[in-house]
Symmetry: C2
Subunit: 129 residues, 2 copies
């Protein structure tokens, strides 16, 4: 909330969390737009490593589902603003729950995975990979 740019990892740090909202970038976009409407380049800058093509696809799906609005402001240079709709806001509790779950239980899940892998990776051999 204090950084102007590129911070992020609340939900699905690389997609490891079991609770997902839409595709890979949907939850982040919804989180960002919940605070304030943003233009394409602002969203992209804050999310970080996402190509224009993929972010465009995510925003198109969001728009098609009725979760975000898209408004063009002619230029040049032109700008396109995206904002959350009321329907889009109904997803915020789900995003919040995903974040809370990850905060509370992701570590336990990762530990369980490690234990499982240790136990099921060729019994008798201690070297992983």
């Amino acid at each position: 909330m204090t950084d102007p740019d590129a911070r992020f990892d609340p939900v699905c740090p690389s997609g490891i969390a079991p609770i997902r909202i839409g595709d890979r970038w949907t939850a982040m976009v919804i989180s960002l737009l919940a605070e304030e409407p943003l233009r394409f380049s602002a969203i992209r800058a804050r999310i970080g490593p996402v190509t224009a093509k993929v972010l465009t696809a995510a925003l198109r799906n969001l728009e098609r589902d009725g979760f975000v609005t898209r408004s063009e402001h002619p230029g040049p240079p032109r700008s396109v603003h995206y904002g959350l709709t009321g329907l889009g806001r109904t997803l915020l509790p789900a995003v919040a729950l995903a974040v809370t779950w990850a905060h509370d239980h992701l570590g336990a899940m990762l530990d369980a995975q490690e234990a499982y892998d240790r136990e099921h990776a060729r019994p008798g051999r201690t070297e992983p990979r």
Copy 2:
């Protein structure tokens, strides 16, 4: 709760809902096991159209994540029982939220999609596809 077999569609009716828990069958499996531990064939019968391979993969992932336990009872015929762990139960609120969201807002989302498709499908031509 009264049917012994094959009923289902609470979460992700075909994967259209935007909130997903794990892979395609994870939410259903968790919902089923929340009521009572079940054996492989029972899970499969209740879910319906899922192949043994895919259900096995889902259960393996669930086990690896520490969400379900797997206990073998030698036969023949043998049986393998699956049950929810405490960590697995932490996902129940997420499943419940997904079901509630779908109940409350899936219709609006579907309507938005229809409207979007109607508007963006070749303006001037009324024929879809």
